[in-house]
Structures are given as structure tokens and as C-alpha cells.
Amino acid sequence: MKPFVYLAVLLLIIPVQASLVAPLSLGGIRPDLALALIFVIGLIAGPVEGAFAGIAIGLIQDIGSANLLGLTSLSRGIIGLVAGLFGRRVLDLESPTILLFLVVFSMAEGIYISFFLQTTSGAVPFLSLIAGRIVPQALYTGLVGFLMLHLVKRKKVLTMLTRRDIQKEL
């Protein structure tokens, strides 16, 4: 991705997710735009950029919320890395099955956070969290990520957002 894209993402990811995505909430469940974005960056730009984008976006979110520093930056860095490693070598960017990978990543992150909270702050309502928050949010995020990927893959958008070497590869 071009540097100005990363700068815009880092400046705007919290306000966009906090204000613009909030009205998209269905029964209190909102898509995780940041996670979908990290997944797309990993797929398009590769594992190294995916990991760095995940770490940076996660860190901004950790600082901007009430999280322990590193909690989501660690998981999002790993997601960016893994998405990049699977990337274009394994996954078919045209296929809707790619949505499943994002759903799995989102659920894995939700379970990791629940385990972390369970370990550090005592009993967490694990089943309520999974059924009431983690699974619905993962499905919603998967859908948003799929739409985002299709938008980014349009030639004009791709030219605007990505560096030339990536454009050639794609």
C-alpha cells in the first residue's frame, strides 16, 4: 500500500469505526472494520505489510480504548501476517469462500481475548460471549471484509491505493 493510505488508515480507523460504523449496528453487533481492513491488506500487500498494519492498527485501538497495550495489536499483527502468508498463493481472491477465513480469524481473536480476560480478570461468560457477540460479529465482519476486498480489487481503487509492484502482481 502507498504510505499516505497507511497514514489515512491510522488517523481515521478509530473515528470511522466509532462513529460511522456505529449506525450499521444490528442488535448491538457491529462489523469490525479494522480487522477486515487488516485482512485485506494482508491479502493484497503480503505478510510483512499485513503484520505491520495489524500491529499498528491494533496498537492505536489499544491506546484509544480501555485495553491493555498489546492485547489486540498482538492478535491483529498475527492475523495480518497469516492472511498475508495464505494470501494470493493459497486463497482465490475471487471466491466467496475467502469470507470464511475472515470469519475464522475474527472468531479466533474473540476466543483469544475471552481466554485472556478469563485468565487475568476471572470468570467471563464464555458461552454468552461466543453466542451473543463473537460469532455474530465474525459473520458480519466477514461480509464487510468480502465487500471491502471486492471494492479494493477494482482497477481504479487498486491503482490509487497500492504500490506499482503490487498492482503488477495482481
Binding site: I13, I14, A18, A22, P23, L71, G122, A123, V124, P125
Partner: protein, 268 residues
């Protein structure tokens, strides 16, 4: 080996960052959360959130004004704010009535001070899957300070976590870092309410305490942040195990955070 290291130095660096992040986490679990860069991030995100929310509100306002509804809309907003204040007064009066019935013999009973509040608008909701916070459109310029209580007519929302001149961050009841001293309204049993992301848990309630599903939890006033008697949550599940000295009590907050748009910050 040096060839391997130079070929994969980016990956080695990423793994190094992961290790550092993990180390940071373990340090914070032991010593508490780092507040590194919190204010600058809140300043930047708050600035853009105000712009986005302002734009959304403007679009909303234009559509609602359409059809000569200018005055009706303004009046509606004013009345909504008034209703919020009146509901708050009413809930406090109900609590006072209960206290008076229970303690009418006590002549020296201390009266609750009238509350002074600032009406605020929620301009952003948490973006992280591991916490529950909201951003509001007023800050220190309006007299808001850290740790002030935030409520609505239906109950307690949380407390102010960070303040900037025109924006503040509110830690909701459901955040894992939130704790609140409460008591059961029916029988005055005390406990500590902790956030668990989707709901709350009442901690340190003795095995022998009489807690029932449907019990209303109100603020006890012991934490010095929330005034006494505000509705907090309703008990939805009670589990007792003989091996444990304490009960496991799950409570649902009185406020629906997914629908939270406006709130009151108590300044006194």
C-alpha cells in the same frame, strides 16, 4: 545461518515485536494498564469523531426538518432533555421513598444532595473487541473531570476515564476494567460489580446472602464516585456451589448500551 537471518530479517523483526507486545501485556497484568499516548490518540480520534458525528447529525437534522418541522424538532430535543432530567429525579425520589419508609424513625438521616448534571451526546463507540468505552462530545471546557459518574434516566452508564477540553472517554459498566460498589435494593446486601464485556458479575457476595434473580442492584455510594441509590443492573443468574465461599451472580446492566445516544455527567 547468517544467510537465513539476512533473508528473513523482516520476519525475525516481526516475531521480535510480537515477543515485546507479549512481554508488555504480562507487565501490565501485574502492574496495571499503561496510559501511554492515551490523550493524543483521544484528541485525534475525538476531533474526527466530532466531524463525522456532526456531519451525520446535520444530514439527520436536514431530513427531519424537511416539511416545516424546524420548531417541532427543536422543541422535541428540549423536551427530551427535560424528560431525561425528570426521569432521573423520579428514580432518585423512588429510592428516597424506599429509604424513608425503612428509616423513618431516624431523625438524623442524611438527605441526598440534589444532583447537578451536564447533558452529553455519544459521538463514538468502542472500536476494540476487548473493551467497552464510548466517546462523548464534552470535556474539561464544560466542567467534566476524570472519574465523574455518567448516567441516564434508566441507570448508571459508567465513569469518565479520560478528559480533553472538548471530548471525554467513558468507561462503561461492562468493561473488564470497571468496578462499582453496589447493593441489592430489596435487602441492602453489598457487593462489587465487575464488567464482563456482555454483562456484569457481582463479586464477593457471601454464599449465605439472599440474592434472587430479578433483584435490582443500586449504587451504594461507598466508592465515592456514584451517588447512592442509582439503578445499575438486574440480577439474571445466581449460582451457588458449596465448595465456594461466594456466590456467582450475573447481572444485566439497566442501560442498553447499544442504544445509548445521550447521557448525563454528574458534576456534583
Amino acid at each position: 545461518m547468517p544467510g537465513f537471518a539476512s533473508q528473513n530479517r523482516k520476519y525475525i523483526f516481526i516475531i521480535f515485536i510480537f515477543v515485546v507486545l507479549f512481554w508488555l501485556l504480562t507487565v501490565q497484568v501485574k502492574n496495571g494498564r499503561f496510559l501511554f499516548l492515551e490523550r493524543p490518540v483521544l484528541a485525534v480520534s475525538g476531533f474526527f469523531e466530532r466531524i463525522i458525528t456532526g456531519s451525520l447529525n446535520a444530514v439527520d437534522a436536514v431530513s427531519s426538518w424537511y416539511g416545516f418541522l424546524v420548531h417541532t424538532d427543536r422543541e422535541n430535543h428540549r423536551l427530551k432533555e427535560e424528560v431525561e432530567h425528570l426521569r432521573l429525579d423520579n428514580s432518585l425520589l423512588n429510592e428516597l421513598l424506599l429509604e424513608n419508609e425503612r428509616l423513618r424513625a431516624s431523625l438524623d438521616f442524611r438527605k441526598l444532595q440534589p444532583l447537578s448534571a451536564i447533558t452529553v451526546q455519544v459521538i463514538g463507540k468502542d472500536t476494540s473487541p476487548a473493551s467497552s468505552t464510548v466517546t462523548i462530545n464534552k470535556g474539561s471546557d464544560s466542567g467534566i473531570r476524570k472519574d465523574m459518574a455518567v448516567i441516564t434516566s434508566t441507570g448508571v452508564v459508567g465513569k469518565i476515564q479520560a478528559v480533553l477540553p472538548e471530548t471525554s472517554k467513558v468507561l462503561l459498566l461492562t468493561d473488564p476494567g470497571s468496578t462499582l460498589a453496589v447493593r441489592v435494593q430489596r435487602n441492602r446486601e453489598e457487593g462489587l460489580l465487575e464488567g464482563k464485556l456482555v454483562n456484569c458479575a457481582l463479586k464477593y457476595v457471601s454464599y449465605y446472602a439472599d440474592i434472587q434473580e430479578g433483584d435490582l442492584l443500586v449504587t451504594s455510594g461507598l466508592d465515592g464516585i456514584y451517588p447512592k441509590g442509582l439503578a445499575v443492573a438486574t440480577v439474571v443468574k445466581v449460582t451457588k456451589r458449596e465448595a465456594n465461599a461466594f456466590q456467582t451472580v450475573v447481572a444485566e446492566p439497566s442501560v442498553r448500551f447499544s442504544r445509548l445516544e445521550e447521557a448525563l455527567v454528574l458534576t456534583k
